[in-house]
Amino acid sequence: MPTNHILPTRVYYTIFAILMLCTFATVLIAFFDLGPLNAIAALTIAVFKAVLVVLFFMHVRYSTRLTWAVVAGGVFWLGILLALTLSDYLTRSWQTFG
């Protein structure tokens, strides 16, 4: 039977520790004024945390290429939705009607 990638529990505990640290860090950073960096930092940390969960807790790191493709596809499509909609919002004020 496919008892392949059974990870040692150590991996899970390590990831858990990193995730908790990240949570602490993101809350901490939020209380300092870094200008636009605040939002960037918060989102970067969130992406990092999500990637850890996906790769290790959800075993994608050890999964087939197809699973990778599905995950990447979902994120990519979300990107399409955001990018093309924002292409409207960000350029609306460019209109220079006399």
């Binding site: 197809l66 093309l84 292409s87």
Partner: protein, 538 residues
């Protein structure tokens, strides 16, 4: 060959009671359940179209009130799009054929397949309730802020109905994707699959990636109506145009949900009708995927005059042209397939001709709309109505009817009356063009859509259109009659009445519950015809 008999054991006689149908997990029976559902909604939607055309036969709004008229086209659009055209080919032909064509016993998740039919029915009931309890008048596009603050009709039940049905599309799409990835018979490689499967796969991708967005959009509209959240309400800083982005993010790709499966059917029909491999198999296959992906990048072409930015409009315009290319590639390949074929004039092939011709007209007029300068004039006029009916009615319904006729002997084990079938195909073709061609003209003249009354100078063209619709209606009723009739009195079909290749023609008609007596091993490409074929008809 007169020894054709019904197989002793097949999916239709494997249990007779109501429960054996309503609790079935056999994809073939579920396909028939869907057949009943979509046909029902087609005739309801069609009845509303008849009333619309009756009203528009004269310029003043005299047959029904303006309120009723608005409800008519709204419910017509909603029923036809969400409850007929989106499910029709995937759920009926797809359900029946996907497992058989790849040599599997069933879909990957048979229970989920049954569940999606029930979800579809429940969604349909909600929408029917919206219809019966007074209707809905927002247009099928639910534009805000009209749908959220102004309309006093049954927005919520109808929205819920669409929301629920969406899950049925998602689950069906998911089932097909997993099945095609994981359940192919030994030797059935991706590039040996019939093209119908490629297009079904592409359609399923859209279902899975697009439908959730319409679900959340509808939820936002409902929340806005109930709690007055204000996402789309300028009074609290919301932007009504944001709704349109969300709506079309799904609803443009959805038009490819409606046409891709029909394209897949037509590939099968052309191959079998010419007894010949489809010209440029891999180009047609990849064109399906290209349409599915590019189809997600063009939604803003519905918003050229809606207040989106000039620059955004340019991006969406150029992308819309790009998505037309793979469709063009397909049309050319189908046509080229006929070259040196053994071309049949049987009913399925007639529908295939109809599809290619009418889809081409519909598609080419899509280019008019993608060209922003022209779209500004024709958007929201009857030109649009004509454009999409050419593709959806002239294209998809023709493809569907062609497929239904082609696989009918497989599904039922019996042949229909060829003469009547050809006659009704002709009536449908003529009626169709008479209905919708004048609408291009009246659209360019400037007649806006969703108009209950119109200036008298548009009358002649509208009368032509109404006359065409009556012919079309008759054309659609005839197949109902002879197909039903064939169930009892039709000649037995045998396993391969068309002399076609493909796994579905190697099993009996109707197929056994497990589809094949033993799992097939595939060693040949799709559409590989031997030097001559034998048909198998009583």
């Amino acid at each position: 060959m007169s020894t054709v008999l019904l197989p002793p054991r097949h999916y239709l006689n494997d249990g007779y009671g109501v429960r054996s149908w309503l609790l079935t997990r056999d994809h073939k029976r579920i396909a028939l359940l869907y057949l009943a559902g979509v046909t029902f909604f087609f005739f309801i939607g069609g009845a509303m179209a008849v009333l619309i055309r009756l009203e528009l036969a004269t310029p003043p709004g005299d047959l029904v009130t303006d309120e009723t008229y608005n409800k008519l086209f709204t419910m017509h659009g909603v029923m036809m799009v969400f409850f007929f055209l989106i499910p029709v080919i995937p759920s009926v032909l797809g359900n029946f054929l996907v497992p058989i064509m790849i040599g599997a016993k069933d879909l990957a998740f048979p229970k989920i397949n049954l569940l999606s039919w029930y979800i579809y029915v429940v969604g349909g009931l909600f929408t029917l309730y919206a219809l019966i309890s007074g209707g809905l008048d927002t247009g099928w596009t639910f534009y805000t802020p009209f749908s959220t603050v102004a309309s006093t009709t049954n927005v919520i039940p109808a929205a819920l109905g669409i929301f629920i049905t969406g899950f049925s599309s998602i689950l069906t799409g998911l089932n097909f994707i997993v099945t095609i990835h994981r359940m192919r018979a030994p030797g059935m490689t991706w590039f040996r699959m019939p093209l119908f499967l490629w297009s079904t796969y592409a359609t399923s991708l859209i279902n899975v990636l697009g439908t959730p967005v319409i679900a959340i959009t509808i939820l936002l509209v409902a929340a806005e109506r109930v709690f007055h959240f204000g996402f789309f309400n300028p009074a609290v800083g919301g932007d009504p145009v944001l709704f349109q982005h969300l709506f079309w993010f799904y609803s443009h790709p959805a038009v490819y949900i409606m046409v891709l499966p029909a394209m897949g059917v037509v590939s099968e029909l052309v191959a079998a009708g010419c007894r010949k491999p489809v010209f440029g198999y891999s180009f047609v296959a990849f064109a399906s995927l290209a349409i599915a992906v590019l189809g997600f990048l063009v939604w803003g072409h519905h918003m050229f005059v809606a207040g989106e930015s000039v620059y955004s409009a340019l991006i969406f315009s150029i992308l819309s042209f790009l998505v037309a290319i793979p469709s063009a590639v397909k049309v050319f390949n189908w046509t080229a397939t006929m070259y040196q074929g053994a071309v049949s004039w049987e009913t399925p092939m007639l529908y295939a001709y109809g599809f290619i011709g009418l889809f081409t007209i519909g598609g080419l007029t899509g280019l008019f709309l993608a060209a922003i300068g022209v779209d500004v004039h024709v958007t929201d006029t009857y030109f649009i109505i004509a454009h999409f009916h050419y593709i959806m009615v002239g294209g998809t319904i023709m493809g569907y009817l062609g497929g239904l006729h082609y696989w009918w002997p497989k599904m039922s084990g019996r042949l229909y009356n060829e003469g009547l079938a050809k006659l009704s195909a002709g009536i449908i073709f003529i009626g169709f063009n008479l209905t919708f061609f004048p609408q291009f003209v009246v659209g360019y003249l400037g007649m806006p859509r969703r108009y209950h009354a119109y200036p008298p100078e548009f009358q002649v063209l509208n009368v032509l259109s109404s006359a065409g619709a009556s012919i079309l209606g008759v054309g659609y009723l005839i197949p109902m009659v002879y197909l039903m009739w064939s169930l009892r009195y039709g000649r037995l079909a045998g396993s391969n009445p068309w002399g076609a290749v493909g796994l579905e023609w190697t099993t009996s008609s109707p197929p056994p519950t497990e589809n094949f007596t033993e799992t097939p091993r595939v060693t040949w490409d799709a559409y590989e015809y031997p030097a001559s074929v034998e048909t198998d008809v009583a």
